[in-house]
């Protein structure tokens, strides 16, 4: 399971945790997160995330 970071504000999407408050269940892989997902902290789109090794 990987982590993805918003390049604008640094918010982290952890595939293990998902983002339940945004309707994304724990364990949801990034490629399965809907295309219209936006960063909950800053609003940028899915295309502005990059995979990070943490």
């Amino acid at each position: 399971m990987k982590k993805w970071q918003c390049v604008v504000c640094g918010w982290i999407y952890d595939e293990v945790e998902g983002a339940p408050e945004e309707g994304i269940a724990p364990g949801t892989r990034w490629e399965d997160v809907p295309a219209d997902f936006i960063c909950p902290d800053c609003g940028v789109g899915k295309e502005d995330f990059e995979m990070v090794e943490i």
Binding site: V7, V8, C9, G10, I38, C42, G43, V44
Partner: protein
């Protein structure tokens, strides 16, 4: 006289300008667009400037693309190091000196500028604002190998820089003429939790006095404070506030207030002139954050491509990037009637601003309480529904 075959012209290549153009391209891939920027046009994230020292990132490493990269990616023309000198709204032209550039639609996305401190002394050229990538590059060069940084201002940016520079190995002192840090965002107890966290890292605060004079002292400076204290430093960061850039708008007869006045369609007082981002005052609100900027970019792209769309702002909490004591705050609307209900355990503060009926109007969370934001966000009203 409108010129409907002329391009869209966007002034500013910050997050506002570039995100607007990205959204425009999704809707109108063939629309001719010219962007004009006074700087080098590099795409970067301003929020990331506040964590650059701790992560040991150079300006080059923070840049996400050159202007040439962006021009190719977005299929647009970008005029870098180019200053617009005049806007002629009647004739739908902007001028770069003598050169006219016609527009069908004009978007002002030129952001806010750092308020410059006024003080005496010969050390003014050792006082830096860090409001864009070039500022950040200059400052990094100046403090390379140095030790002591004085930060003027204890608002969001001042506190973020203080934490970041400590993380980068600097000794930091902060001067601000306020009773507690983050005075416009946080109630006292929450501010104290953050201050104590920063003090635990070695940050020294001088709250109450102003800097009255900055004199050169060898390669560094000595700052004199209004309470008689002297602070020696190798460099000074001024983070005393931002104000929307207004000059060119005022000269063009475009209505301004605190920011460039815009309605919910992001139209200014002049036909075919729009605005978004840090320079914009949308229905009375100047919001210097990315969430409202992104909502604006999406709405304005639709408006500019034939689907007039009013921007709305939902719940938009602000994160203060002070990792020693993280903060998430959703300020209540100005002039809200209510009171703070505050619980504090050390670094962890839960502060809720509620009206008489018990409705939640705002909150401030620090430390471990930050994770309660999800539940509280559900109770909050939209900022601009």
């Amino acid at each position: 006289m409108s010129n409907s075959t002329a391009p869209f012209v966007v002034i500013g290549t910050g997050l506002a300008g570039y995100n607007l153009v990205k959204e425009l391209r999704k809707l109108a891939p063939e629309q001719e667009i010219i962007m004009i920027t006074a700087d080098d046009g590099r795409n970067y994230s301003k929020p990331m400037l506040s964590t650059g020292f701790g992560k040991n990132k150079s300006a080059d490493e923070l840049a996400m693309g050159s202007a040439a990269d962006m021009a190719a990616q977005l299929n647009i023309v970008i005029r870098t190091h180019t200053s617009v000198t005049k806007i002629d709204t009647a004739n739908h032209k902007v001028f770069v000196g003598e050169e006219p550039i016609s527009y069908s639609k004009l978007v002002l996305a030129w952001g806010a500028e750092a308020i410059r401190p006024r003080m005496e002394g010969d050390g003014a050229d050792r006082v830096f604002s860090i409001n864009d990538l070039e500022d950040y590059a200059s400052f990094r060069a100046v403090v390379d190998g140095k030790k002591r940084v004085l930060v003027m201002g204890a608002g969001l940016i001042g506190c973020e820089f203080a934490n970041d520079m400590v993380n980068g190995g600097f000794e930091v002192e902060v001067v601000a003429p306020c009773e507690h840090i983050l005075p416009t965002l946080l109630p006292t107890e929450a501010a104290q939790a953050v201050q104590e966290g920063l003090e635990g890292l070695g940050v020294k605060f001088h709250l109450g006095p102003l800097v009255t004079r900055i004199n050169r002292d060898g390669d560094g400076v000595v700052a004199q404070l209004s309470n008689g204290t002297n602070v020696a430093a190798d460099a000074v960061v001024s983070a005393i506030g931002l104000r929307p850039r207004l000059d060119l708008a005022v000269k063009a007869g475009i209505q301004v207030n605190h920011g460039i006045v815009a309605d919910r369609l992001l139209q200014t007082s002049e036909p075919d002139v729009y605005t978004l981002g840090d320079c914009a005052e949308v229905e009375g609100r100047v919001l210097l954050y990315v969430l409202p900027l992104m909502a604006s970019a999406r709405a304005l792209a639709k408006t500019l491509t034939g689907t007039p769309t009013e921007v709305s702002y939902g719940v938009m909490p602000v994160t203060v990037k002070t990792p020693v004591v993280p903060v998430v705050v959703s300020p209540a609307a100005p002039d809200s009637a209510g009171r703070w209900i505050i619980e504090r355990e050390g670094a962890d503060v839960q502060a809720e601003f509620r009206n008489e009926a018990g409705d939640l109007l705002g909150y401030a969370l620090t430390g471990a309480k930050v994770m309660n934001k999800v539940a509280l966000n559900k109770e909050l009203p939209a900022i601009m529904p």
